[in-house]
């Protein structure tokens, strides 16, 4: 009985890991794998809207080579957007411009998109583990 339960939890843990990684890479994909269609679409649109607007406003996208702790925090937040971070250099072809207020808003919107996606990843992980519906 205990072994069966352990196997079930192990399977859930593996699925939860796959779902979490997928959800991080492509916002909403974790929920899509769990057949939560509406949530998958809403999370993709929410993260995508914030990330693309942040890039369109020419916000600053932090890299791992930042000089201080705040740059590193910004990098971790930005990295949360998954694929949007990876293609940000292509989309943001003009480079960042934080000399205008809009550029600064863009920096915050992109970081918000990353943190929001991490919340969505956590939600998908908890659903896969059976702790949420």
């Amino acid at each position: 009985m205990a072994e069966e339960q352990h196997k079930t939890e192990g399977g859930s843990a593996a699925l939860a890991t796959v779902v979490a990684v997928a959800g991080w890479l492509v916002p909403g994909l974790g929920h899509l794998l769990l057949r939560k269609w509406t949530r998958a679409l809403v999370y993709f649109l929410a993260v995508g809207t914030l990330a693309v607007t942040g890039l369109a406003l020419r916000g600053n996208i932090f890299s791992a080579l930042g000089g201080d702790a705040f740059d590193m925090l910004g990098f971790l937040a930005d990295l949360g957007t998954g694929v949007f971070y990876l293609v940000s250099r292509i989309i943001e072809n003009g480079g960042p411009d934080v000399s205008r207020a809009a550029g600064d808003y863009g920096t915050r919107l992109f970081a918000t998109a990353g943190v929001l996606n991490l919340l969505c990843v956590l939600d998908a992980h908890e659903i896969a583990r059976g702790r949420k519906t």
């Binding site: 809403v42 999370y43 929410a46 914030l50 406003l57 809009a102 808003y105 918000t112």
Partner: protein
């Protein structure tokens, strides 16, 4: 692309309200109520803080 502060705040409030509603509520009616309430709270607090800071800008 250029957005002013208020337009950016509106976009932020709409997106975050809807996302939080889906993250925390499961029924459609609960989600709608939560999203509307959170959106209005974002607006109200932002405008209130704006007016509180207004004398400092002069």
């Amino acid at each position: 692309m250029n957005l002013n502060h208020f337009q950016t705040m509106l976009l932020f409030a709409v997106v975050i309200s809807v996302a939080f509603a889906f993250l925390t509520k499961r029924k459609l009616s609960e989600r709608a109520r939560y999203a509307l309430w959170t959106f209005l709270a974002f607006l109200l607090v932002a405008v209130a803080i704006g007016w509180l800071m207004y004398p400092l800008s002069r």
